[in-house]
């Protein structure tokens, strides 16, 4: 037997769909404008502003960004390797820290937790940090300067500790009775059980590594080691600098199209990471909830 749909339900659904479609379009328009902006001729943008449909198509901005495709490919490599290794290492270390701090049989956990928490509130600031990395650790122009600073963050550890707490202590005991050591318990039981937490923090960390340009700006001097974001930002900054009076002596004929260049850079930079969301989204929502309630 078919359940008859009420008229009011139909009306509700129709309105719902219309409103949602409308909202979706509003959300999508900026992306669309970025996309079309990147293929509109520079002069058209100057004259008529950004438009939904450009009169003319040109790939000048992409061309001027890709004058040296090898450089972009290289930067992609750096960014991808950095994001993958960074995220994996960071997750491993953060999970271990979070796990240890969540274990009730760890005597000094409160002290350590406070110690970690303290760094969230107070830090030495930019200059001591710079001295630490450049002078003490001698990491100028080394990949380590890109990898290390984000490897473990106090905030992520505290978040992780919250996740781990929600795993019942009894699991430890039963595993111990079966003869498992601490590390085995961590790898075989705790890690699989905390996938939502790992996914959430993993996404945070991956985004951070992917979007990072400031570290490269400060510490990297060899163009081969630039990550993607910094390379793109540098291209934009040079285009802007060419407009100012500082660059009196720079040659006029090398001026790239700066408005469309911004859009093209946005497309190139966000492209891959945008696809990360749909895949981890289902963990993400659940993970955030768990974190917020029990953390």
């Amino acid at each position: 037997m078919r359940i008859k749909t009420e008229k009011s339900t139909v009306a509700f659904n129709t309105i719902g769909y219309i409103v949602l479609t409308f909202l979706t379009v509003i959300c999508l328009i900026p992306f669309w404008v970025v996309l079309t902006g990147s293929v509109t001729p520079e002069l058209e943008i100057i004259n008529e502003g950004f438009k939904l449909w450009p009169n003319e198509l040109t790939f000048e901005a992409y061309r001027s960004m890709m004058t040296n495709p090898g450089v972009i490919v290289r930067a992609y490599e750096v960014s991808i390797v950095l994001t993958v290794t960074g995220t994996a290492l960071s997750l491993f270390l953060t999970a271990m820290a979070g796990y240890v701090l969540s274990r009730k049989d760890f005597k000094y956990r409160n002290g350590f937790s406070f110690y970690i928490y303290f760094t969230l509130l107070f830090s030495g600031g930019l200059i001591p940090w710079y001295i630490l990395i450049v002078k003490d650790l001698q990491m100028k122009d080394s990949y380590m300067a890109l990898l290390l600073p984000f490897l473990v963050s106090a905030w992520n550890i505290i978040l992780m500790k919250g996740f781990m707490k929600s795993i019942p202590e009894d699991i430890n005991e039963s595993a111990k009775i079966d003869g498992a050591g601490d590390f085995t318990i961590f790898i075989k039981l705790i890690l699989p059980l905390s996938t939502p937490g790992l996914a959430t923090i993993g996404l945070f960390v991956a985004l951070q590594y992917w979007n990072e340009w400031f570290l490269a700006n400060l510490f990297i001097t060899t163009a081969d080691k630039y990550p993607l974001q910094f390379l793109l930002y540098r291209t934009l900054a040079s285009a802007e600098a060419l407009k100012t009076n500082i660059a009196l002596s720079l040659n006029a004929d090398t001026k790239p199209p700066s408005e469309t260049l911004k859009m093209a850079a946005a497309v190139v930079a966000t492209g891959p990471i945008v696809f990360l969301y749909p895949f981890v989204q289902r963990f993400f929502v659940k993970g955030l909830l768990i974190g917020s309630v029990k953390g």
Binding site: V134, S153, A223
Partner: protein, 542 residues
């Protein structure tokens, strides 16, 4: 027993982690803070500054092989490594030295520059400039005083650079009682007066008068606006244009810096510093601007506009663009390539007041940070680059045949090199070598080779007067709050007045002045006067 061991093991891991966490956390939050921490002064490694011991007094000892780290502002060229490798071959032979040339790039370069100079990083030579806060860093003691080193390690430069240029590079550092040289200035006289780029073809087509004063500027704007209704003469940000014109018309020289700086003085009487919003000239100007705005010489959204008026000229719907003289040259040459049908003219504002002041010599210079490991070797290399044509050409223009060739006259630069066909993306070798330029060695013309520039330069040299205002450095530290408030008031009330975007000029001026008084502009004026007088006394300017 085993369990206990395990527990210690985990404790150990936790400890290792904590150390890593601590190292990382400073970084995470550090990013967000600004880079202005004047308290962190460099650890002065004075031991490094003593000249290398041994060797006889007139031939510096170069027995030790040294790698120098140099920093320039801006971006490298893609062949920079190749060029520097070539340079190093020669340097190694002549001075037993190699250099590693690094670039700050334009991304947040001020932050980076500040960090490099305040943390005592090992850098042997760095670009310095008035616009990169040379005076501030020199005062703070970030640079090494060069007075004693120069005659010995850079003798040619020491004897060739004019006395006046050295004087302009002198700074009294905090904690010292005498003025010392902290940078080797480029020997390259530059004039960068403001001016207007305009459509000379339209001016002729419409039979408008030659631009030579304020009235003819107005006639030009008016003629263009009337004849071509689709054109907005200043199509984009018009603020810089009008501020520069205002100052030039009334011969007001800036004392201080920034858009919001209200303190001005006349060249003839530099100690008479006034805040221009309180002058009758400003009242008259605001009224004129209201008239101009109403006539549509610029758009009403000009204050928020992100558009460059120069781009509008290329698009055919703009007619005026504010540039300094070399910038105008570059712009005009650029337009000549993209829009050959447009004929542009340039009117430098100093024709309105009849003199030109060259930039200070330290507008482009090379300095040695205090923490440099090998200052004397850096000076020797700089001396070579500045005075040996072989080195100079290589460092500034790249490799002959690959990046440039020399014309038949044996002097002029041809780039791309003769007989070489290049792709659209070919870029001439063009790194930020401003700090080492020497006029007699330079092979290209100022103003990007714009043909009108030479005549302009002659004109400027003919009416040149020493620059007495640029050396006054103000950090506004004692009047910080007032300065911020004044800037804010200017942003809110002053800019619209400057562009005639108000309903009732008299009332708006009254409000503007009232707000300025409340913001404490008098304290800023007082501070400016004190500092300026200190500087004038020091330099013997009346």
């Amino acid at each position: 027993m085993k369990g206990k061991l395990k527990r210690y093991g985990s404790l150990l891991i936790a400890l290792t982690m904590l150390i890593a966490v601590l190292a990382a956390c400073g970084g995470n939050s550090g990013n967000k803070e600004g880079a202005s921490s004047p308290s962190a002064s460099p650890s002065a490694s004075d031991s490094a500054s003593s000249p290398s011991a041994g060797g006889d007094s007139d031939k510096p000892d170069t027995s030790k092989k040294v790698e120098l780290v140099w920093y320039l502002l801006g971006d490298p060229h893609k062949d920079t490594d190749k060029v520097i490798a070539e340079l190093n071959k020669n340097l190694e032979k002549d001075l037993n030295t190699t250099i590693k040339l690094n670039f700050t790039t334009w991304t947040e370069w001020q932050t980076k520059y500040n960090l490099m100079l305040t943390t005592g990083e090992k850098i042997d030579m760095i670009f310095a400039s008035t616009w990169a806060d040379y005076f501030k860093y020199a005062k703070k003691g970030s640079f090494l005083p060069l007075d004693d080193l120069l005659p010995k390690y850079a003798p040619v430069t020491w004897s060739k650079v004019p006395e006046q240029d050295w004087t302009e590079a002198k700074v009294v550092a905090s904690g010292s009682d005498k003025a010392q040289i902290f940078a080797v200035p480029a020997t390259y006289p530059e004039y960068t007066p403001d001016g207007f780029v305009y459509r000379d073809d339209w001016r002729q087509e419409l039979g408008l008068p030659e631009i030579k004063d304020l009235d003819s500027i107005e006639a030009y704007l008016d003629g263009v606006k009337k004849a071509k209704p689709k054109v907005t003469p200043i199509n984009g940000k018009a603020f810089n244009e009008m501020l520069a014109l205002f100052r030039a018309t009334h011969q007001y020289e800036n004392v201080g810096s920034g858009d919001g700086n209200l303190m001005v003085a006349k060249y003839s009487n530099p100690r008479d510093i006034v805040a221009y919003p309180f002058t009758p000239e400003f009242e008259a100007w605001a009224k004129k601007m209201k008239e101009w705005a109403d006539k549509g010489y610029w758009n009403s959204d000009t204050l928020n506009s992100q558009k460059e008026a120069g781009d509008a000229i290329k698009a055919g719907n703009g007619a005026v663009y504010w540039r300094n003289a070399p910038g105008a040259g570059g712009y005009i040459v650029g337009v000549g390539q993209t829009n050959p049908d447009i004929k542009l003219g340039y009117f430098p504002f100093n024709r309105l007041y009849g003199y030109a002041t060259p930039n200070l010599s330290v507008n482009n210079a090379m300095a040695i940070p205090k923490s440099a490991a090998n200052p004397e070797r850096s000076l020797m290399v700089l001396d070579k680059i500045r005075n040996d044509p072989k080195y100079f050409d290589l460092f500034v223009y790249g490799i002959e045949g690959t990046h440039y060739s020399i014309a038949d006259d044996g002097k002029t630069l041809v780039s791309p090199p003769k007989g070489m066909t290049v792709t659209q993306d070919w870029k001439r070798y063009d790194i930020a070598s401003w700090g080492v330029r020497v006029e007699s060695m330079v092979r290209e013309k100022q103003g990007s080779g714009w043909e009108g520039f030479d005549a302009l330069l002659e004109e400027f040299k003919g009416m040149s007067k020493p620059n007495i205002f640029a050396g006054i450095t103000l950090d506004y530290e004692p009047v910080k709050a007032n300065k911020a408030a004044v800037d804010q008031v200017f942003e809110q009330y002053g800019k619209p007045l400057m562009l005639g975007l108000v309903k009732d000029v008299d009332k708006s001026i009254a409000t503007f002045r009232d707000k300025l008084t409340k913001a404490g502009y008098e304290k800023v004026l007082e501070y400016t006067k004190t500092e300026a007088n200190k500087y004038f006394d020091e330099k013997g300017i009346q």
